[in-house]
């Protein structure tokens, strides 16, 4: 009875279903790199958006799917950023012989990212452990504390440049690389969501006692979701470190964590597409406001700066309004395609 046939879908053979999206993404991203790669402002903007998407989608695995409220995500990004940044700084003039310099650089860049991600994942494991005992507000406080601890540690470590941070990190990031990691994060989140693992996470979110009674090892799943989530946060941080001229502890404060939380709450806790859309909107909004207000005041940037300073109150207001009008967020736990009109072929939740 375990040899049930795989339901045929859209004629994609089972062997290819795993790898096909990756190949498609590689093709599309190469095309995008070729078309837009020479346009620095666009690349910068989409990199910022990309990092926000990775952060939001990965936090959504913990907060949305597993229902554990973590508000220290910027801490994990900081771990990734500083570990990857330090690595790239130390090895920036090392290259592999026999391959083109650009290729060798990219290889080291990926290595740096993975190191940053793994370091963040290790931290996620450490923070995940108290989540075995704490829930709700208490867990939130622990994660918040963790984020601050990371920041303070970086601020007082010579290797990480203390309060000045790291500068001169080789700018190896590209549209392709950011896009590829965004793709990997989203793919991971979606595939987890529609597998046994995901169902166990949803179950923990819905009712921990019932999940435990149905044979779900809740502690193990909670820790694992923390680890996965912080790994991608580390990657996001690592990417960030490779396209901004300087990283300092100030880039990873509590405010940054809250921005990410606002994104996933606005998008709907548990909705990957919601997190993506909210991440794009909330990242582009300040940029757009800056441009608009600079234009309004005739090229004078001071008004724009003032508006930029009240960004958080604006976020807060946005969140209050959202909670009043649509408490479940933009999409609730649904995905974009669940909400599209009938004529669009629907996909049921839980079916990959």
């Amino acid at each position: 009875m375990e040899t049930a046939a795989v339901p045929a879908r859209a004629g994609v053979p089972p062997m290819l279903r795993g790898i096909l999206p990756v190949l498609l993404a590689l093709a599309v991203l190469s095309l995008a790199e070729w078309a837009f790669g020479g346009w620095p402002f666009f690349v910068y903007l989409s990199s910022i958006v990309g990092v926000a998407i990775i952060a939001a989608v990965s936090l959504n695995i913990v907060n949305g799917m597993t229902g554990q409220f973590s508000i220290g995500h910027a801490g994990f990004m900081a771990v990734g950023a500083f570990v990857a940044g330090r690595f790239s700084l130390d090895f920036h003039d090392v290259g592999l012989s026999g391959v083109p310099v650009g290729f060798s650089d990219q290889l080291f860049f990926v290595l740096a990212l993975l190191l940053g991600g793994l370091a963040a994942a290790a931290c996620g494991f450490i923070v995940g452990l108290p989540s075995l005992r704490l829930r709700g507000d208490y867990l939130a406080i622990v994660t918040l504390g963790f984020g601050e601890i990371i920041r303070v540690i970086v601020q007082n470590t010579d290797a990480f440049g203390r309060a000045l941070g790291l500068s001169g990190i080789p700018q190896r990031s590209s549209l392709f690389m950011v896009g590829f990691w965004v793709f990997l994060t989203v793919l991971t989140a979606r595939r987890i969501a529609s597998s046994s693992h995901g169902r166990s996470l949803w179950a923990i979110r819905e009712d921990e006692i019932a999940a435990e009674a149905m044979g779900v090892n809740t502690t193990a799943y909670k820790v694992r979701s923390f680890v996965i989530s912080s790994f991608f946060a580390g990657i996001a941080g690592g990417l960030f470190a490779h396209f901004v001229p300087i990283i300092n502890p100030g880039s990873f404060t509590f405010v940054r964590s809250m921005e990410i939380v606002v994104m996933i709450v606005a998008g709907g806790l548990g909705s990957t597409t919601g997190a993506i859309i909210a991440a794009i909107a909330l990242t582009l909004l300040p940029e757009a406001m800056r441009t608009v207000f600079t234009q309004l005041s005739g090229g004078d940037a001071s008004l724009a700066q003032k508006v930029d300073q009240i960004r958080m109150p604006i976020y807060g207001l946005l969140l209050v309004v959202l909670m009043l009008v649509r408490p479940q967020g933009l999409f609730g736990t649904r995905e974009l395609w669940d909400l599209l009109p009938r004529w669009f072929p629907r996909r049921r939740k839980g079916v990959a």
């Binding site: 375990e2 435990e212 044979g215 090892n217 049921r348």
Partner: protein, 300 residues
Amino acid sequence: MTDVLLKADQVSIQFGGLRALSGFDLELRKGDLKGLIGPNGAGKTTAFNVLTGVYLPTSGEVRVGGQRVNGKKPHQINRLGLARTFQNIRLFRALTALDNVKVACLADEKPVFGAERLAALHAKGGWSGKLAGGFEAWNNYYDWWRALLLTPGFQREEASLTRRAEELLEVMGLSHRRDEEARNLPYGEQRRLEIARALGTRPKVLLLDEPAAGMNTREKADLMVLIRELRQRFELGILVIEHDMKLVMGICENITVLDHGEIIARGDPAAVRSDRKVIEAYLGDSYLESHPHVGTPGAA
């Protein structure tokens, strides 16, 4: 005695000064259908919680399939073949009926290290137990990678999980609710979905905590038939907590009566019904005084 699936031996549990359960014992074999009744606050649900590992007994011993489970986590006890439903329905409300059952079907077939081998290693304890823990972790990560890569094996397994969950929904008469969110189901169907979910874990023993609460007479009658069928079809031992006397008396072959955490009577329905202590617990001793011949053998 390996055919005793569930055995509680002199189990007591104390919350501070309150003795919620004392000297509780119970044996359940394959094919048994036993009832657990008692007035409100008698300790019935506490007994369930001790058996399933939610509470750690203060003294005494619980064995599932011959294995001592004191101090084991609920999910481990569940894996040994003990599944339950809840008095206050605890479905995964935002998930569809199908997904509710699929959660329970989780890790049905372990691909690398089989559940039986792991259980054997665990039973040995010591280094073997640690090794088994490592294998389990490996299994989980292996599962995870298969999910990420959407390997054909994973897709097959997912399809077979779906099919099994659909079968269970059909058994419980819920096929038409397959894709509806659990919270939108009517009360009686939510109760049935809880049973379907419990069956998903492939239990040997099923504990039902007030399965008929909130159902109408018709639904209760159907449920009685269904519970009997389940016992046959899945070769279960079933223990039912129930307030509805007609239901308990109708289906259970053996009834245990709890009051203030202690067993006050046990036996077949007729014997329990005419037991003086039981009547006293349910109706008060003033009732007995005014009806002197009630509760004596041969009367009623």
